[in-house]
């Protein structure tokens, strides 16, 4: 009797792992296929799709596709643009959204509740519904720069950065986190004569590691993977980010190896980032759902 039970348990465990692994294969095979294909010449790539070889680095393996993708498209420039836009937006967003949330949670001021309600209300406005009026809006906005006052923000870095810095979700995440911090801490610092700026930088920010990580990861993913907005506001190569750069390949139905190489180049940084910080990524998504 005992042995049968033990066998049974072993079998059930094996079935569980089998199910888990089969599902894992479903999630991972397109990405494996992408990376492997990027290493193969087109003819072999197409031939390999009919067998398991599609997922293996076999045959005529080389980085030729990468070389020709770099030749066809200014990959490094697009990558640089994406990093500038994403990096600046994430940093500015963390700063301005945490400052606003700090004010909403710890300070009393007239208009506070109305302002916070407006921000919460924006959570139900999908970006897609404001993209068109926003396009017209930014095409007319003034800017004071080196050449004096100019109008129209199209084809710049700033049009990809400034409108997307502040968002309701980020402020909301900070507000929720700050509400759980002990208020006595802030009031005690006030009694001791600390300025609000000092309380923000020396008391609250040092305690905010987890929420900063959450907000940074969510914003990073949203910004790096941004497509609709840069598609509309950036025409010139000079300011184009990687996702819009993909358009170069849309019409090339034959150069699959090159496409796979480009996809791999722009995906690997995010995937590497994710695999290293896997727990933080998952925790950040989970934290958006805890209180809802």
């Amino acid at each position: 009797m005992a042995t049968i039970n033990a066998d049974n348990r072993g079998l059930r465990l094996a079935v569980r792992y089998l199910v888990l692994t089969l599902i894992a294969i479903i999630f991972v095979f397109p990405l494996v296929f992408m990376v492997m294909s990027s290493l193969k010449p087109d003819l072999q790539l197409l031939r390999d799709t009919s067998s398991i070889r599609a997922f293996l680095p076999v045959g005529d393996i080389s980085f030729d596709n990468y070389a020709s993708a770099f030749e066809r498209v200014p990959v490094m420039k697009f990558m640089f643009n994406s990093l500038v836009v994403t990096g600046t937006t994430v940093i500015m967003s963390l700063l301005l959204c945490s400052l606003a949330a700090f004010s909403f949670v710890f300070l009393n001021w007239s208009g506070r509740n109305v302002a916070l309600s407006i921000i919460i209300a924006t959570l139900i406005i999908p970006f897609e519904t404001i993209a068109i009026p926003l396009l017209l809006f930014v095409s007319k906005l003034p800017w004071i720069g080196m050449e004096g006052m100019t109008f129209g923000w199209l084809d710049t870095y700033r049009v990809q950065i400034i409108p997307l810095i502040a968002d309701g979700l980020t402020i909301f995440l900070f507000v929720q986190y700050f509400r759980d911090l002990p208020r006595e801490l802030i009031e005690a610092s006030r009694v001791e004569g600390a300025s609000w700026w000092q309380i923000y930088t020396r008391v609250v920010m040092p305690l905010s590691g987890p929420v900063l990580a959450t907000a940074a990861i969510l914003k990073f993913l949203a910004m790096y993977n941004q497509y609709l907005w840069p598609l509309m506001v950036v025409q010139q190569e000079t300011y184009r980010p990687v996702m819009v750069g993909l358009q170069y390949f849309f019409q090339l139905n034959t150069a699959w190896g090159e496409i796979m190489a480009y996809l791999t180049i722009i995906t690997i940084p995010v995937l590497a980032f994710y695999l290293v910080l896997q727990r933080a990524f998952i925790a950040s998504i989970a934290s958006t759902g805890v209180k809802g």
Partner: protein
Amino acid sequence: MASKLTTSNRAGWGFALPGFGLIMLFIVIPFFFAFYLSLTNQRLISPNPTEFVGLSNYDRLLSISVLSIEPETDDAGQVVRDDAGEAQYPRVRTFTRNNPDYPQYAGMREWFRWHWGETAKVVVATDVVFWKSLRNTLMFVLVVAPVQGGLALCLALLINQRLRGINFYRAIYFMPVVVSIVVVSLLFRFIYDGNDGLLNNILGFLSFGLFEGRDWLGSEGTALGAIMGMSVWQAVGFHMVIWLSGLQTISPTLYEASSIEGASKWQTFRYVTWPGLRNTAVLVLIVITMQAFALFAQVDVMTRGGPLDSTTTIVFQAVERGYGKQDISGGSAISVILFVLVLSISLIQRFLTRER
């Protein structure tokens, strides 16, 4: 709680203003701007001044009507039939073009038709493509929201067991979420390809060659379904994690109690797990619905709305007109309609899932 210590209008506004100001400037104002623009004939670049045109943008988008057409009869009053015995009908354009008897149908085109006895009922609309985009988007939402939410819950339950290495599987299931939907879409164009596509080969292999390949994105019947499948594949891990965080808020003592009572697995799920997931369920449903309504990148990369507008969506139409054709007012009107849809569906969901 307004203590003197924490009251400061100057500091309060000073700290909140940069973030709040940006939200007002780039979200709230454009949002109201959309309503205004939808009532004008604004274009992105135009030499002519903008004029107020009332509701005519909405009128053009939403005009729809049913036209009843009797079969053609010959001089003897008999229905004219073709060789196969099918009744012959006059062409729709005889009603919709320059026909003073039917001014209400002027400029409309046929969307689809059905038969009521010998009478053909023809649905005609001024903007058939927009109506198709509404239909496609609603189909997408109605299929993807329950399927993705349900699958995500199954995955969360699967991942929520104590097994060695379970975190590895969780990390794998979540992986597609961090990959851009644009990258995924281009990759799946290859997977769905009609000739050398991976999916055809895999299905052919699994069915021992019985399955005949098809061009998934190239045929009207399968294109939207293919996009749905890919979208679920990409995003299901996101909602799995949200379900998972909901599962972990359920107190273990409840599970102990139900196991002492000898509850079956299904009973435990039905009476312990599911009630504990109530708030999570509402959140997951609303988030997926909002994301599904915003369907754009997949369509833009994979099909550009085709074949025969079978995958065009509301956002795709808004961008196609507002940006592509520089018709800001038309694009804005579509945006407003989208917002009204999202809002009303969210309110309905809130109502249906309210605490009773």
